[in-house]
């Protein structure tokens, strides 16, 4: 059933400071609203239970991609299209570009943001596995100040995060430490565009150093960095048993637990042989 539209509040603060002050004044009342590609779908389905939002879409402070010598800093409003248009991201973080290219169609890529993809906290989102293997950090900003977290600590359970009621996920930092790495990304869904994944796999590895990093989507309540599988591979194993123990896939409308386990293991094999 469609939502009752007049029951929703949406305000557009002119500055980031104003947005943070409103969030601090009434913690929990206001939630940020970016490109709307997830929230509007919930609204239309009558499933958007929160009713007061701050549109942050026009806040310039939250846009832009800044390249420093040792890291890349992304404003939370960086869209998938912005990712695809950035040469450094395409070259050094190709899994992020691959995830962006496979998220929706062009219209969704123009409006969907990295910050929204993270905060929406769907375990099936496409960019989180890429961000996890690139050791991303996220900045949580409020009028009290700023704190940085490793992204792998951000998700605490199904659709729950470390974000405080007055906090905004403002920026994402990617360390530029993957030169010479092999990058592997594979989204398995019902069709190439517009499909939500059944399993999403991101992996990077370095032949000389033996370093390996693996993250999966749609196989656990959170986008999952697979530390134990990585350790098993570093110790010389194939990682398949460790992966089976580490992920907790379920049966749902898109797939089954058994299929997801089999596909995850197949993707791990393909990654290690790539």
């Amino acid at each position: 059933m469609r939502a009752y539209i007049p029951g929703y509040e949406l305000c557009a603060p002119k500055t980031l400071t104003e947005a943070l002050e409103r969030m601090a004044a009434e913690p929990g009342r206001w939630r940020p609203f970016a490109g709307g590609t997830d929230l509007m779908v919930l609204l239309e389905a009558g499933k958007l239970h929160h009713s007061c939002f701050l549109s942050i879409w026009r806040l310039r402070e939250l846009r832009g991609i800044m390249i420093a010598s040792d890291s890349v800093m992304l404003g939370c409003l960086t869209t998938f299209t912005d990712v695809l248009n950035d040469e450094v991201l395409r070259r050094e973080f190709p899994l992020l570009a691959a995830a962006a290219a496979q998220t929706g169609g062009v219209a969704t890529q123009n409006r969907g943001t990295l910050g929204g993809n993270i905060v929406n906290a769907s375990p099936a989102a496409d960019t989180p596995p890429a961000l996890l293997v690139y050791d991303a950090e996220v900045e949580l900003l409020s009028s009290r100040g700023s704190r940085w977290l490793s992204y792998h600590e951000f998700h605490t359970g199904y659709k729950t995060t470390r974000l405080g009621a007055d906090e905004l996920l403002a920026r994402i930092r990617l360390p530029r430490n993957t030169a010479g790495f092999l990058h592997y990304y594979r989204k398995v869904g019902t069709r190439n565009a517009q499909a939500i994944s059944k399993v999403c796999f991101a992996g990077v590895r370095s032949q000389p150093s033996g370093e390996v990093r693996i993250a999966l989507g749609s196989v656990a309540p959170v986008p999952l960095r697979c530390w134990r599988t990585e350790a098993a591979i570093r110790e010389g194993g194939d990682g398949l048993a460790a992966l089976a123990a580490e992920i907790t896939p379920i049966d749902d409308v898109r797939s089954t637990a058994a299929y997801r386990l089999r596909v995850s293991q197949n993707l791990l094999k393909a990654f290690l042989h790539s």
């Binding site: 779908v41 062009v106 517009q194």
Partner: protein, 159 residues
């Protein structure tokens, strides 16, 4: 919550509307502005029937709250061409049989225009990527692809 006034530049003309902030831009375009060329298909960003150009970029108007469009420039299918003077892409759709029932067609044309503005000579892969957000249940897509390729002057994609 109260309605708020917004100003839009729609197909080159300044228009105002009084909207619920979370009202879908699609509904404002169709109902208040009476531009019914933009269609509603799925209402959840999957099908592309409601595609418009928002500040030059393709967007699904069903997923944009009206408040966020305040001050922006919008091109709907009515701004691409009219029956007296069709745009090249529209002529090509007619010539190639790229339209059947017509519900997806305005969105397909918008997507094709958005693609060709950015990339005047798309490869077949570029074309498939550019139109990936637009579903058509009639044509099987090949005539649409052919139309877009013809529109960019080549007719390279023959099947």
């Amino acid at each position: 919550m109260r309605k708020v006034p917004i100003t839009l530049t729609v197909n080159g003309q300044s228009r105002t509307a009084s909207v619920w902030p979370m009202e879908r831009l699609l509904d404002v375009i169709r109902q208040q502005l009476a531009l019914t060329g933009t269609k509603e298909g799925c209402g959840e960003g999957e099908c592309g029937a409601c595609s418009i150009l928002l500040d030059g970029q393709i967007a699904n108007s069903c997923l944009i709250p009206a408040l966020q469009a305040d001050g922006s420039e919008i091109t709907t299918i009515e701004g691409i061409g009219c029956s007296e003077e069709l745009a090249a892409v529209q002529r090509a759709f007619v010539e190639c049989g790229g339209a059947q029932c017509g519900i997806c067609t305005p969105g397909m044309i918008i997507a094709a225009v958005a693609l060709l503005r950015q990339n005047p000579e798309p490869s077949e892969a570029d074309l498939r990527q550019g139109l990936a957000g637009n579903l058509c249940r009639c044509t099987g897509y090949m005539r649409i692809f052919e139309a877009v390729m013809n529109a960019c002057g080549e007719g390279r994609l023959r099947h």
